[in-house]
């Protein structure tokens, strides 16, 4: 089966992108990455003293895993800050891919849509492949696409909350209204069933970090997410049956007059 997807010219098999922060050790991170079969790893640099290459040892460890790296601008609060960091990350990681995060609210780590759009516009013009971490607002998402983003990363719930898809309706709207734009649910997923649900809805992929890193056994949880993502994707391709209000026996029950069924007022 060759169910692949494309983003910025890359063809990817895996629909699970993994973050690299907060694992019990780099060794467990490496094992979790292997178990997840992720092809894209996000990496943060804001607080690692990037100007003096402070994070080099850790970054080299991540580089040795041989995955496509997606550096992020986590920890930035303005477009200016995020743009500067994106430029620095292009030098450091030799990739024009950037996961653009601009925080608008510190407690929720909620993206600032205005600063985000501004930074996305500038960075796209500079040739960056921008992966914007955004809310699930349709109009914002459209504007980001207009600004040059070829992929969108709407949240499922605020970062690190593990709440799952708080607004499946909004996500489904994005799937329907922005056909041809790969959508990656980023942030807020807590359990594999959340990831399966996202793929069932027709999202292209999910991005996780905390749900794996802070699990009791991150390696096992990475595997669980890999399976859930595969299951959700298969379900989407298979096409789910419609929901009905009442049970419908899959085999006919001979000898049961229909008025005996609930709802027809018959005696039971």
């Amino acid at each position: 089966m060759s169910d692949t997807w494309q983003v910025y010219g890359e063809t990817l098999r895996s629909r699970l992108l993994l973050g690299t922060a907060g694992y019990p050790s780099p060794l467990i991170l490496e094992q979790a990455v292997a178990a997840s079969e992720a092809q894209v790893l996000t990496v943060s640099l804001r607080r690692q003293a990037p100007e003096t290459r402070g994070g080099d040892s850790f970054w080299q460890h991540i580089r040795r895993m041989g995955k496509q790296l997606l550096p992020n601008t986590a920890g930035c609060h303005s477009a200016t800050e995020a743009i500067a960091l994106a430029r620095m990350s292009r030098e450091l990681f030799q990739t024009h891919w950037i996961k653009l995060e601009v925080t608008g609210d510190d407690y929720n780590l909620q993206p600032d849509p205005f600063q985000l759009l501004e930074a996305a516009t500038t960075l796209s013009k500079e040739g960056f492949a921008v992966f914007p971490y955004c809310t699930d607002d349709l109009v914002l998402c459209r504007r980001l696409v207009d600004a040059g983003c070829q992929v969108l990363m709407p949240w499922g719930a605020p970062i690190g909350t593990g709440q799952g898809l708080l607004n499946p309706y909004a996500l489904q709207t994005l799937v329907k209204r922005l056909p041809g734009v790969p959508l990656i649910v980023d942030a807020g997923l807590g359990t594999p069933s959340h990831a399966a649900q996202a793929l069932e809805l027709g999202m292209s992929a999910v991005l996780l970090n905390t749900a794996v890193a802070r699990a009791g056994d991150p390696v096992r949880m990475a595997q669980a997410f890999r399976l859930a993502v595969a299951a959700g994707r298969l379900a989407h391709l298979a096409g789910a049956m419609p929901k009905r209000l009442s049970a419908e026996p899959s085999t006919p029950v001979p000898g049961t007059p229909f008025w005996h069924e609930q709802g027809y007022g018959g005696n039971r």
């Binding site: 050790s25 780099p26 607080r47 690692q48 003293a49 040892s57 850790f58 460890h61 009791g216």
Partner: protein, 379 residues
């Protein structure tokens, strides 16, 4: 046997002291003036918190950590005999708290401890508001806490000083104020020259990075405060989705507040953001911290291997003892015991791993290896 120790931080000092007690001649080399000011162990909080740490990094350090606390009890008595100094330490346990909005963190923490099998025989106690007030009246802002009565904490600076006195009294030789450039088989090379020994121990922590494959630094930032308005008798951990801090009391109303943990090898001074995070979280623990004085803000790199567990690398005539990560005091005694065991030809203790050092393909070390007898098992 004449043992040369490169690096007089926590591990170097402990090893020197134990080797002197076992009757060996010891020379201790350090870039400092012997006070340990530049060692990671000097600025640490020195908490002996096997339960708290196992909850976040894994069960493999729980039993070793408990064993180390028992070892500290014995060692601190022996150190008092050797140095005439009593190192303050307390065994009243740790209190773990979270604010009302973050109660889920506290439950998660407790759940992790139960999964680790740590619930047995009173090692993990849930305190309600009344019980918490009785234990620690100053933690008035909290409705509940997890009490880990078997955890402990020691005064690391007093320990550094007592070890220095003991090493002096037992006849150890200090070579201070010389930056160490290499620790090789049977020799320690400083800026001032090469010193020949029977066995060289490399205890430089993050300073050994250039010579130790797989070692990295994990930046930590820590504050030392004096807070006369706050009376806390034991270490406290504040759980928060992002800004986790701990606080360890020291004599004279001092507190050590830590620590950030960044995958960075920058040794630059503490950043504003880290100050803000540590101090904002601290202020929510007790309003009396508002008038506390910030005595020191220090940063350092914890030496760590990829599994974040300690490791000893062996080669004839040299042993590299490193990788204590954020568990210098929790696992330090076991690392030291492991090094001593290896010198006697016995196996190391869990969770310390032992690797044979790969040969450095330099003409000098090749020549060295031909002339040096196997040092392992010399003792």
């Amino acid at each position: 046997m004449h043992v040369g120790i490169g690096g007089a931080g926590l591990v170097g000092r402990l090893l020197a002291w134990r080797l002197l007690r076992a009757g060996h001649a010891v020379s201790l080399f350090d870039q400092d003036q012997g006070n340990g000011q530049q060692a990671a162990g000097f600025i640490a909080a020195a908490m002996l918190a096997p339960y708290s740490e196992a909850a976040s990094v894994g069960s493999e350090i729980l039993e070793p950590g408990l064993k180390a606390i028992r070892l500290w009890a014995r060692w601190l008595e022996e150190l008092r005999d050797d140095s005439g100094r009593q190192v303050p330490w307390q065994r009243r346990g740790t209190l773990v708290v979270a604010h009302q909005a973050d109660q889920v963190e506290l439950h998660w923490f407790r759940q992790r401890l139960l999964v680790l099998g740590a619930s047995a025989s009173g090692a993990v106690r849930w305190l309600d508001r009344t019980a918490l007030r009785q234990q620690e009246p100053a933690l008035d802002a909290f409705d509940a806490a997890v009490h880990l009565p078997r955890e402990a904490c020691l005064d690391n600076r007093a320990l550094f000083a007592a070890l220095a006195v003991a090493i002096d009294r037992l006849g150890g030789r200090w070579r201070v104020g010389e930056r160490i450039t290499h620790v090789e088989a049977q020799r320690i090379v400083t800026e001032a020259g090469t010193h020949h020994v029977d066995m060289a121990l490399d205890c430089r922590g993050f300073g050994a990075k250039a010579q130790l494959e797989g070692l990295r630094g994990v930046r930590g930032e820590i504050l030392w405060l004096r807070a006369p308005e706050v009376q806390l008798s034991r270490p406290v951990r504040l759980l928060h989705p992002r800004y986790q801090i701990y606080l360890a009391p020291r004599p004279q109303q001092r507190y050590v507040i830590g620590a950030t943990e960044l995958e960075s090898e920058s040794l630059a001074p503490v950043t504003v953001r880290s100050h803000l995070e540590l101090l904002s979280a601290l202020y929510t623990l007790h309003p009396g911290f508002a008038e506390a004085q910030v005595l020191e803000a220090r940063s350092h790199c914890r030496p760590a291997f990829m599994n974040n567990l300690p490791q000893i690398a062996l080669a004839p005539g040299v042993m590299r003892v490193n990788g204590l990560y954020r568990h210098g005091y929790l696992l330090g005694p076991l690392l030291v015991q492991s090094a001593l065991a290896l010198l006697r030809g016995e196996p190391a203790l869990a969770p310390v791993s032992v690797v044979q050092e790969r040969k450095v393909p330099s003409a000098m070390s090749a020549a060295q290896e031909r002339t040096v007898p196997t040092a392992i098992g010399l003792m």
